[in-house]
């Protein structure tokens, strides 16, 4: 057997985490309303499937774009040969405009500062390659997207140092935590090259507040070598766009545009979440540093967006009427859907972190834990995957510091599926409650307070002991 490279054989791509295990389990037994109604419902996938109808109707009305045509004339040959890594300027212009629009046109974007990449995964990694050397570190607020271990670390050799957070302040970034992380990195002899945040946050579904942003900017202003990467791929999912503040707005508002800070702030964006097109692989780096743009552009050769996609999307994004309508409708639908999930969970006694963006909720299942440990979280998670049959992501896979939080996605399914998922969760909660009540009533009995509890037990199936121990054969 030929020895493969260390990179190929090492484990730091993170694919073994429970985040991906849940997916594997899902793929073995996926829910289908008719074919497999008992299957696992995928709630670990942050996909936006709520607005396909809008996209599809646009495509139906604009056949040229999808058919290699411009004003009825074929552009096939042009596209077939196009491979300039700077990308189609028409597309980049449209993309830059869309980004502005997405941020309420409070800031404008220069398409020359945009580097196209094959999705945000590639954009993030490229930025790491540009900003850090192997062994350098980036600070990331926890909880963070499980895929970052792969995207940021695996091939680049960059280390991630977590910025600790806690549910007590809604997992907000604090100055103390940031400084602690920085000290921690130094202690580990790591050269901190930057901070990477997701705004809106994956997995929290919240936008970064002005306060938080101020803390971050103060920090990078003070520490001259530190970059700030803001992953804003969920910017289009903010229910109320006024609540979303891009780092570019801070630069503008805090009059940092003429300082050295300008060049150290970078944005990662994508159309995967905003338009629900993860398969098209369109991501981008936006940076004010010409050198970064230049290097990133060269590196983008390894993962370009196909000309066909660029062409199609340039038409789409240039249709201002469409984009305006789309953003509004998309926000409305996501908001509705999020409310359904939050209310549904509330009804069965489960709370969520208050959120205003994203395709997921950060769900507080701490009351269902048998103990305040990550083992208990894994036990609960396994029960949810294997018995309740929902694939959700445990907080531990997002490097959350507190056991009991789960990321639950809500935009990759239809309403009925969500309802079913809630029903299944209800059974779990009832089951847990009843077993707790039994324990409680037992202790009540011991305490002499005899109160008849009319238990409304359900979930008998789970309580059946599967392995009635039959006598071993001889």
């Amino acid at each position: 057997m030929v020895q493969l490279s260390r990179k190929a054989t090492c484990n730091s791509h993170g694919q073994v985490s429970s985040y991906f295990l849940g997916w594997e389990e899902y793929e073995k037994n996926p829910y289908d309303v008719t074919k497999n109604p008992q299957g696992i419902i995928q709630m670990g996938l942050a996909e936006n499937q709520l607005c396909f109808d809008l996209l599809e109707s646009w495509l139906a009305q604009n056949t040229d774009a999808a058919c290699f045509k411009r004003d009825g004339q074929s552009v096939f040959r042009e596209l077939a040969l196009f491979q300039d890594y700077h990308g189609l300027s028409s597309f980049k212009n449209a993309f830059a405009d869309f980004m502005s629009e997405n941020r309420g046109n409070r800031v404008s974007f220069d398409s020359n500062n945009l580097v196209l990449t094959a999705g945000a995964t590639s954009a993030n990694e490229t930025l790491m390659f540009c900003l850090a050397d192997p062994g350098d570190a980036f600070l990331l607020p926890t909880p963070y997207y499980p895929g970052f271990d792969r995207d940021l670390k695996w091939r680049t050799g960059v280390e991630i140092v977590p910025i600790q957070s806690s549910s007590t302040n809604g997992f907000r970034i604090t100055k103390l935590a940031l400084e602690e992380a920085y000290e921690q990195a130094k202690k580990l002899d790591l050269n901190v090259k930057g901070i990477l945040i997701t705004n809106p946050s994956n997995p929290l579904g919240t936008t970064t507040t002005q306060t938080e942003l101020n803390i971050l900017f103060d920090f990078i202003t003070k520490n001259k070598n530190i970059h700030l990467v803001s992953d804003e791929i969920y910017s289009g999912t903010v229910f109320n766009s006024s609540e979303f503040i891009s780092v570019m707005e801070i630069l503008k508002n805090n009059q940092l545009e003429n300082t050295d800070v300008l060049n150290r702030v970078h944005i990662v964006c994508s159309l995967s979440k905003d338009l629900g097109l993860p398969g098209f692989r369109v991501g981008a780096i936006y940076s004010n540093d010409k050198d970064v743009i230049s290097a990133a552009t060269k590196m983008s050769s390894f993962g370009l967006v196909s000309s066909q996609t660029q062409y199609l999307l340039s038409s789409l994004l240039s249709d201002k009427k469409f984009t305006k309508n789309y953003l509004r409708e998309n926000q409305k639908r996501l908001k509705n859907r999020q409310r359904k999930l939050v209310l549904g969970l509330e009804a069965i006694g489960i709370k969520c972190l208050k959120s205003n963006a994203g395709l997921f909720c950060w769900v507080d299942m701490r009351p269902l834990l048998r103990s305040k440990t990550f083992e208990a979280e894994m036990d609960l998670w396994k029960k949810i995957v294997y018995e309740v049959k929902l694939n959700i992501s445990p907080g531990s896979s997002c490097h959350c510091e507190e056991p009991g939080w789960f990321r639950v996605c809500f935009a990759n399914m239809i309403d009925e599926t969500l309802k079913l998922a809630l029903k299944r969760l209800k059974m779990l909660v009832d089951d847990e409650n009843s077993s707790r009540r039994c324990q409680k009533s037992k202790s009540e009995r011991l305490n002499g307070s005899r109160k008849k509890t009319m238990s409304n037990v359900s979930n008998w199936v789970f309580r059946l002991s599967f392995h009635d121990r039959e006598a071993e054969e001889r």
Binding site: K28, Q38, K382, S455, L464, E472, E473
Partner: protein
């Protein structure tokens, strides 16, 4: 069709088979009216004689067959080119529906068994300690009705445990011993003690309530009565101040006056009471029927209180003296002394007369004990019969407190097993009736007498007894009333009785089965189907439908019908029927297989309506089936064992035993197969035979160990295994030790020890079948200590030596590793390979989604309705869907024919959650009747009762 030239067959075994000089089966006991079919001829081995014999046999049988086919002829065996026809093998023709009739169960049977079990549980819990033994005996009677030997034995043990008086202790201990059939163990005697107070023949003779010590080791096992020897020898005569003497004939016996006076009040009165004897130094005692030796002994006893050194006849004399002069102490000393001398049947026979004459309670108890421990053989001793069977005998025993319901319950049970129709049986049941006081006792006694009278075709009496049983409250006896009316040609009356039974009560399988006898056409078939639906374990409906199909010439369908029940219940009568039909369709191989299996279950089975011994049929069929050498047999056994074909395996083992009857290894295999088929009794018999035939000490110890293990003596079983290992390290000894140790939940240390033992076992020589099992068990210990990879290795190794069941363990390992798909696939493999795969479907259901699980469990129930998990699962699903009453129905359906702990517990929990406290409590009580220590049920029971207690 397999055709065979008869001439060829006749040259071989077939002539032998018909040769009257060959050992022919004995006529069935008590069946003298039909005579001994095969035994009619005399000498000679020629075809002519065989022919005549055959003719004789067939003529004889035809008379007894309702549907005689007058035109049937038999080809003379000498005629060449003759073809073996089914008629030759079916002297009674094919089975006919008209002759089919279900037996009436000679046990208590209830319309609402759950209520009954709950009742008896309450009785046991609430009665005073002195009534407990009797309450447990009632429980025995109930468990006998649901034919669960393990539960029966447990109640019997409890009954013995709580017994107060010597009589009850003697009877119950003997019964326990009988249940183990130790009489069949060569080399043991009836008075051998198994080492615990529970069954110890000496411990039984100690009166008093002592439930705590019954499981302790008895005196026989520990140091013997050494304390007696330690005492000083009794003081010599020189040192005694004799102040008087008794004169008998010419001899004088010198005594101490006040010592003699202290023997009894009459002596005291005589010596100090102002009679003339008072003043005399010498009293003439010649006329009192006591010898000089007797008087000397009495004198010594008066000083020492001991009888050790006297010969029995002297002690007997003392007993008489004691009775005459009211010497209580002397009497009980003599009684006890003599009681301990009784060790053999002869001694008992002699001494019981004295005992009864002199009203010596312990002596009679001891004699009784010998009789009872010599059962069943002592049942054929006319003197014993006389004491037990006659009304005077019972009265004599009763006068001493030695006639009890328990005694006659035990005796009549044995008599009925031995021969239902014998006069002995009837007489013992009459005695049982005389002893019956409680209503359950009356119900049982009357009903059994009814059943026996019905068997004897004394319908009028039978009807009377059945009626009495019904009046005593035993509704099931109405079946007997109906049947006897039917026999006396009051068919409509019979129909009416059962009809109203069905409409007045919650209908059961047996009610519909019974009614089917009294109606016809569609109605009959409907009743039979309903009977099966209510109780799929009743054999008669399957048999009837099968035979009805045979009458329509649909042999294949008939076999398929019987396969349904034989798939989960190895019922001898259904095996017989399948063999019978197989012969009819000329599938001799299949017929032979079934008959062999049948004879393993019941070695004396009489086929074709009790007309031909099964062994005889084997002889007839053997030449028609494929011939196997012993090596072929091993191959066959390996194959069938691997394909989990237990009945097939039994047949092969039976075949091999015919070639090698002394092979205890084969007997042991037989017991393993029988246990899998849930035929406890037959399995134990095979184990005993294995033990009796074992060639070496270490082998014998292993089989003895298994016997002890199966009768609840785990510690003793372990000791046997250790002893065996100390003689010779063998696979089976290590396996037994590991198995007995692993039967409870293991802590890590003992797990490791069990693993070590199994590894030792695997190092010893054995064959693939056994090693596969050991690997399998090793795997499951590994699973328990979460060493999944090691477990997987074991199972994989087991599979490579074709231990098919290891798929199940491997599936579990996959499951525990969260590889459900692989687990599912593994179970699919088992399902495909196994003949009996109901349990495999059940286990597979755990590894798939709910819908597929439902369909697997549905199939499992269809294949084996006695498995309870599928019902529980379906009920739980219904419960979760808030279909409470349907969920209850699902469980009740199964509980009605299988009163199972888990089912009852779950239903109780359902009721509890529905707020139906009373029903929950009842189900808990019934469940606790089955297992009084079941923790979950106990918790639920207390919880459910709590609010009631408060009110």
């Amino acid at each position: 069709m397999r055709s065979l030239k008869l001439a060829e067959g006749c040259k071989g075994t077939q002539v032998y088979a018909l040769n009257p000089s060959a050992p022919t089966p004995p006529p069935p006991p008590g069946n003298s009216s039909t005579g001994g079919g095969g035994g009619g001829g005399s000498g000679g081995g020629t075809g002519g004689v065989g022919d005549k014999l055959l003719q004789h046999l067939s003529d004889h049988l035809r008379v007894n067959s309702v549907r005689s086919k007058s035109s049937r002829t038999y080809p003379p065996p000498t005629q060449p080119n003759a073809v073996v026809s089914p008629e030759f093998l079916l002297p009674c023709g094919l089975p006919v529906t008209d002759l089919l009739e279900p037996q009436i169960d000679p046990c208590l049977k209830f319309v609402d068994l759950v209520e009954k079990m709950a009742q008896v549980y309450r009785r046991i819990e609430n009665c005073s300690q002195f009534e407990k033994s009797g309450a447990y005996l009632e429980q025995c009677a109930i468990f006998r009705g649901i034919s669960d030997p393990k539960l029966f034995r447990r109640s019997l043990r409890s009954s013995r445990q709580h017994a107060v008086d010597v009589h009850a202790k003697v009877v119950l201990a003997s019964w326990l011993r009988f249940e183990r059939r130790e009489d069949e163990l060569i080399g043991t005697t009836s008075m051998d003690c198994c080492g615990r107070n529970l069954e110890c023949p000496k411990a039984t003779l100690v009166s008093g309530y002592d439930p705590e010590s019954v499981y302790d080791p008895c005196v026989c096992s520990g140091a013997s009565r050494s304390e007696m020897m330690n005492e000083d020898e009794c003081s010599t005569s020189q040192e005694v101040d004799y102040d008087m003497s008794f004169c008998i004939g010419d001899e004088e016996v010198r005594c101490v006056r006040y010592k003699i006076a202290s023997l009894s009040r009459p002596f005291k009165a005589m010596l100090y009471g102002g009679f003339r004897e008072m003043k005399r130094a010498t009293i003439n005692f010649t006329q009192n029927g006591i010898s000089v030796e007797g008087m000397r002994a009495a004198e010594i006893f008066s000083r020492t209180n001991r009888l050790d050194n006297f010969p029995p006849n002297v002690v007997l004399e003392l007993l008489k003296l004691a009775n005459r002069f009211c010497c209580d102490e002397l009497k009980s000393a003599c009684d006890s002394h003599l009681a301990h001398l009784v060790n053999s049947l002869d001694e008992a026979m002699l001494l019981i007369e004295y005992g009864l004459e002199e009203a010596a309670y312990l002596l009679v108890a001891a004699c009784l004990q010998v009789f009872l421990r010599e059962l069943p053989s002592s049942m054929h001793n006319p003197n014993v019969i006389k004491i037990f069977c006659s009304a005077e005998g019972r009265e004599r025993l009763a006068s001493l407190g030695h006639a009890s319901f328990t005694l006659y319950f035990f005796l009549s049970q044995i008599a009925m097993e031995d021969d239902m129709k014998s006069n002995t049986t009837v007489m013992l049941l009459e005695r049982l009736v005389e002893c019956a006081v409680d209503s359950w006792e009356k119900q049982l006694a009357y009903h059994q007498l009814g059943v026996v009278m019905l068997e004897r075709k004394e319908y009028k009496d039978a009807q009377r007894w059945f009626n009495a049983a019904v009046e005593a409250g035993h509704l099931y006896s109405l079946v007997g009333v109906a049947r006897t009316k039917f026999k006396r040609d009051h068919r409509y009356s019979a129909y009416k009785i059962i009809n109203s039974l069905i409409s007045d009560h919650k209908a059961t399988g047996w009610m519909h089965q019974e009614r089917s006898l009294y109606c016809s056409g569609k109605e009959k078939l409907l009743d039979l189907d309903t009977a099966t639906e209510f109780d799929p374990t009743l054999t008669f409906p399957y048999k009837f439908r099968a035979v009805a199909l045979v009458e329509e010439n649909q042999f294949g369908a008939a076999i398929a019908e019987l396969n349904k029940i034989l798939g989960f219940k190895a019922s001898p009568d259904c095996l017989e029927m399948r063999a019978w039909i197989s012969i009819g369709m000329e599938d001799y191989e299949g017929a032979l297989k079934d008959i062999r299996a049948l004879l393993t279950l019941e070695p004396n089975f009489m086929m074709f309506n009790w007309k031909i011994h099964g062994d005889h049929m084997v002889e007839l069929l053997r030449p028609l089936a494929q011939q196997w050498s012993q090596a072929d047999c091993w191959m066959q056994l390996y194959d069938r064992w691997s394909s989990v074909d237990d009945i097939g395996s039994l047949a092969v083992v039976h075949h091999m035993l015919a070639n090698d009857p002394g092979k205890s290894l084969l007997r042991f295999r037989q017991s393993l197969l029988l246990l899998r088929l849930n035929c406890q009794k037959a399995a134990m018999r095979s184990l005993r035979l294995a033990r009796n035939h074992s060639k070496s000490e270490h082998e014998r110890l292993v089989y003895e160990g298994w016997i002890l293990y199966d009768t609840g003596h785990r510690e003793e079983a372990l000791a046997k295994a250790e002893e065996s290992i100390s003689i010779q390290r063998s696979f089976e000894a290590f396996f037994l030790k590991a198995y007995a140790l692993a039967d409870s939940t293991l802590d890590p240390d003992s797990s490791n020890y069990v693993i070590q033992l199994l590894q030792e076992a695997l190092k010893c020589p054995s064959d693939g079948l056994r090693k596969g099992q050991a690997l399998n068990n090793l795997g499951s210990v590994y699973v328990d200590c979460e060493k999944l990879d090691l477990a997987a290795d074991c199972y994989t190794n087991a599979l490579t030596i074709k231990h098919t069941r290891a798929h199940q363990g491997l599936a579990r390992v996959y499951h525990l590793k969260n590889q459900r798909k692989a687990a599912y696939d593994e179970m699919t493999k088992l399902i495909e390979k196994a003949q009996n795969n109901a349990s495999a479907y059940e286990k597979r259901s755990e590894y798939c989604d709910r819908e597929m699980a439902q369909s697997d469990l549905c199939l499992a129930t269809q294949l084996d309705p006695l498995r309870t998990y599928p019902y529980r699962y379906r009920a739980a699903v219904l419960m979760d869907d808030h279909k409470e009453s349907e969920a209850i129905d699902e469980l009740s359906r199964a509980i009605s024919f299988k009163p199972d702990l888990q089912l009852l517990h779950l239903r109780a929990a359902f009721y509890d959650s529905m707020g139906e406290g009373a029903s929950a409590i009842k189900d808990c009580e019934a469940a606790l009747c089955i297992d009084p220590g079941h923790a979950d049920t106990l918790e639920l029971y207390h919880k459910a009762r709590e609010p009631n207690d408060q009110k």
